[in-house]
């Protein structure tokens, strides 16, 4: 029997009080694709970073091709033939592709030789694996798909025969993802070993040979992909039976609450993020916006929430919003009945170093209820906070705990409680269940649907197609700052939405990946 390409034994790792990995064991056979699946925060990235020498494990042993290997730093991992494409790319933005590839793998103290040698090798590699990139382009001018190729080339250039990819498809369209998987198949045929991290069941089922499941820092199971089902994996992931659909009544839309006409946004560095968006949301309706991350959906929420200026015409309940002037801030939006659950609760929705009660007033701190003369009425805020914490079942129910000391799901409950309890006319929600466990997901979904049923308008942004499909009453697909089309959830499927997400509107025809790639490259070229 051949030795496993990788074997980990008893790996544990803590970050301060958080134990990210607990006594983990795993074996991966050479020439296979091994999937690792688990919820957000399960410890997948941590485990792989340990294998790549980025973090140091507290305890445990690593065996590479049967030999016990110390991996104190990434240098050692590279020497052992391991390459890793991180979830957040590790590229130097203002260097060229070539410079990024030779960085750390130069031969000789002078650059000239290394660069020309790399150029030839790069040409070979890119032809061999269909990984075309312009070696002289600056990273900051490339789209994410291209950047990912650079990362893969970086690993191949270092002659990695064990390749780790951490959530490589999070930023890709379904078609791009398919292209990536074909590349991985090719690499596998060459005899390389691949570890693929994801939390998407479909990808696991389609591409891997074996799969390990992680939950809360522990490895709960390793199975052959052919011998399992998505349902089983899902249960292993969350530790109990899961419900994959949301229960809800059909919508009964009323008059229009939000109307957006030709909305445009240019960001700080002059890039057009929204190129003229028009849409509307009615009372008693949830409009879902889906798209690959980075196509303008975040900016859409931010403009509507008053966090950045824009151009165009937006009305709420028939009254126009000020998009650029003195009134284009989040404070004014709240007064106009718009509540906003931001995409990033830790960076935006909460002040992590504030107490829970302080966070309950966040954004509404100028509310008359919270004032006492020129001072703030902290007692009133605390009273309100306690009520909300009780109603939304935030645990622990302690308003003197700092936000950072709550778990992700409970942090999200605090934000949801604050925003929903304002009884807004329009609710903007971004990624409501990112990093939240299934139990909390159900609760949060119920709350959103309840708000809709109370006759309010909801604009939902999510990168999870499942969430969009199950929660929305209407779906708009965004690509490169434009709305590609609207569909009813009952009349569409993932394939059609995926093509729209890649900017292809004639969804009836067949489309090759190259075509999609070209379309995307064209779009990013314009954006850059």
């Amino acid at each position: 029997m051949t030795a496993p390409a990788i074997e980990l034994k008893g790996i544990s790792k803590s970050f301060g009080p958080v134990q990210a990995n607990k006594d983990i064991a795993i074996r991966v056979m050479p020439g296979t694709i091994h999937g690792i699946i688990g919820e957000n925060g399960a410890g997948k990235s941590t485990l792989m970073s340990i294998l790549y020498g980025f973090y140091k494990a507290d305890t445990g042993e690593i065996f590479i091709r049967g030999e016990r290997t110390e991996i104190p730093d990434s240098q050692a991992a590279i020497r052992a033939g391991i390459g890793m494409v991180f979830q957040h790319f590790k590229l130097v933005q203002n260097f060229t592709v070539l410079e990024n590839i030779v960085l750390g793998a130069e031969d000789g103290a002078l650059l000239k030789g290394s660069l020309s040698k790399a150029r030839t090798l790069l040409k070979q590699l890119s032809e061999e694996y269909e990984l075309h990139v312009d070696p002289d382009a600056k990273i900051e001018d490339l789209g994410v798909g291209m950047q990912q190729r650079v990362e893969i080339l970086k690993a191949l250039y270092r002659r990695a025969d064990i390749l780790i990819l951490d959530e490589p498809t999070g930023v890709l369209t379904p078609a791009e993802a398919d292209h990536l998987f074909r590349i991985l198949e090719g690499l596998k045929r060459e005899g390389k070993t691949i570890i693929l991290i994801t939390h998407k069941l479909r990808e696991i089922m389609e591409t891997t040979d074996t799969v390990s499941v992680m939950r809360r820092g522990e490895m709960t199971a390793t199975v052959k992909t052919a011998e399992t089902t998505p349902q089983e994996l899902a249960e292993l992931m969350v530790g109990r039976e899961v419900l994959l659909r949301v229960d809800k009544q059909a919508a009964t839309p009323g008059e229009t609450v939000l109307n957006v006409e030709n909305l445009q946004v240019v960001d700080g560095s002059g890039v057009e993020r929204l190129r003229g968006i028009s849409l509307n949301v009615k009372r008693g309706e949830i409009l879902g916006i889906c798209g690959v991350a980075g196509n303008g959906q975040s900016e859409l929420l931010e403009v509507l929430g008053g966090m950045r200026p824009g151009k165009g015409r937006v009305t709420v309940n028939g009254q126009e919003l000020d998009l650029t002037g003195a009134e284009s801030d989040a404070r004014t939006r709240r007064r106009r009945g718009i509540a906003h659950v931001p995409e990033d609760r830790q960076e935006e929705g909460l002040i992590m170093d504030f107490f829970a009660w302080e966070n309950v007033a966040f954004g509404y701190h100028d509310d008359a209820r919270y004032q006492r003369g020129a001072m703030m009425n902290n007692d009133a805020i605390r009273e309100d906070a306690e009520a909300k914490i009780a109603k939304f079942d935030v645990r622990p129910a302690n308003c003197w705990l700092k936000a950072k000391n709550f778990s992700g799901g409970n942090q999200q409950k605090i934000v949801i409680a604050r925003e929903l309890e304002r009884n807004p006319d329009l609710l903007l929600v971004g990624q409501p269940t990112r990093g939240v466990d299934i139990g909390a997901i159900e609760f949060i979904h119920e709350q959103i649907v309840a708000l809709r049923d109370a006759g309010k308008a909801v604009l939902l942004v999510s990168v999870e197609l499942d969430e969009i499909l199950s929660l929305s009453d209407r779906i708009a697909v965004i690509f490169d700052g434009r709305i590609m089309g609207e569909r009813l959830p009952s009349e569409t499927d993932e394939r059609e939405l995926g093509l729209l997400m890649a900017g292809i509107t004639d969804t009836d025809k067949d489309h090759s990946v190259d075509e999609i790639e070209e379309n995307l490259a064209h779009a990013t070229g314009k954006a850059g």
Partner: protein, 369 residues
């Protein structure tokens, strides 16, 4: 869970840092062939051993409270105002103009106007760096450093031209009698307490009020809430409808004004005329004070008194021994180094120790849901 209990964060760590700084200072004293314990005794005695010592200690402390609060409030908005020196210089110009322009009948009338003058001028000097930081992202540390130099050039220019009093020295005319602030000796003398002749004056009370006012502002008003929120996360601030430009400007204006207020103590209270170099590094001491005081007004007050004692004790040290006054600068540098820059050296082992200590009693490290 916070990694450290609050008391360790606000008291234990600064204390360990301070002790480290003092140990190294003692080594320096020993290295130049003096007895560190004797030096310490002289300093302590000189600083707090008499009403004379206390007077000077609190006089210096008053300066440091103002500059320390200035740095502290900026820290709350995550702004590093290293321009206290220049803002205080401009404040001194404001105070001097107030005291020179009007024949004040009584200090009680002069003081509020001088506070306004010093505050406004100090704030004005912070305004441009603040504006550039807020709207153009120019690093406030660099711009405020530059403004320190520009302030000092401006003062030199004015003191050899428009404001120069007759005579050779580059200084302004004496302020009018009516702008003289009562000293501690005069105030306490009136109620029959004998206090040495020192420049400590009613500005000390103003400084205490400033501490209290700043505490109120930061933790009891909407503005303070917004400043703190902005300091923790500017993205979140925008989400909450807090205007970053506005908060940056307001915070820096308050910060500059506080630094400028130092002049009512130093210029109006002691020198009673405008000198070219009247801040004497207090703007920089403010950094050490704010760091040690963990940017809390009470902490700033305690740290300022400590530094006041250090300055007064250091002056005595120079009288009594051959240790030059620069010893104070060394101690100050070490305090900044240990409390500010080398904080992690103490903090991370301590965090680990607390973590281990907490893990032991069987319960898991993280609260269950």
């Amino acid at each position: 869970m916070d990694k450290l209990p609050k008391w360790a964060d606000v008291a234990l760590i600064p204390l360990i840092n301070l002790i480290l700084a003092l140990i190294v200072s003692g080594l320096v004293v020993a290295l130049i062939g003096q007895d560190p314990f004797e030096a310490l005794a002289i300093m302590v005695n000189g600083a707090v051993g008499s009403t004379y010592g206390w007077g000077y200690t609190l006089f210096y402390a008053t300066n440091f409270i103002f500059t320390g609060l200035a740095v502290a409030i900026a820290f709350h908005a995550r702004l590093f105002n290293i321009g206290g020196e220049g803002q205080a210089q401009l404040g001194s110009l404001g105070v001097a103009l107030v005291c020179l322009m009007v024949p004040w009948p009584h200090w009680l009338i002069a003081l509020p106007v001088a506070i306004l003058g010093g505050g406004l001028f100090g704030a004005a000097w912070a305004a441009i760096p603040a504006y550039l930081q807020a709207t153009r992202g120019s690093h406030i540390v660099i711009t405020t450093i530059m403004f320190n130099f520009i302030a000092s050039a401006l003062l030199v220019y004015l003191l050899v031209s428009a404001l120069k009093a007759p005579g050779m020295a580059p200084e302004s005319a004496r302020f009018v009698e009516g702008s003289h602030l009562p000293t501690a000796r005069e105030v306490l003398g009136a109620i029959g307490i004998d206090f040495a002749r020192t420049p400590m004056n009613v500005s000390f009370i103003v400084a205490l009020l400033a501490c209290w006012g700043l505490w109120l502002l930061l933790w009891r008003t909407r503005l303070g809430y917004e400043i703190r929120a902005f300091g923790h996360s500017d993205k979140a601030a925008v989400y909450a409808g807090i205007n970053p430009v506005r908060i940056t400007m307001i915070t820096m204006l308050i910060s500059g004004a506080l630094a400028g207020l130092m002049a009512i103590n130093a210029v109006m209270g002691e020198q009673e005329r405008l000198l070219q170099d009247n801040v004497l590094g207090a703007g920089f001491v403010g950094i050490a004070v704010a760091l040690m005081g963990r940017s809390h007004p009470v902490g700033v007050f305690i740290a300022a008194v400590l530094f006041g004692a250090l300055y007064q004790g250091g002056a005595e040290l120079e009288f009594e021994t051959s240790i030059p006054r620069e010893m104070i600068v060394v101690i100050q540098a070490l305090v900044i180094l240990f409390t500010g820059a080398l904080d992690g050296m103490v903090r991370s082992p301590l965090e680990k120790a607390f973590l281990r200590f907490r893990r032991q009693p069987d319960k898991p490290g993280v609260p269950a849901e």
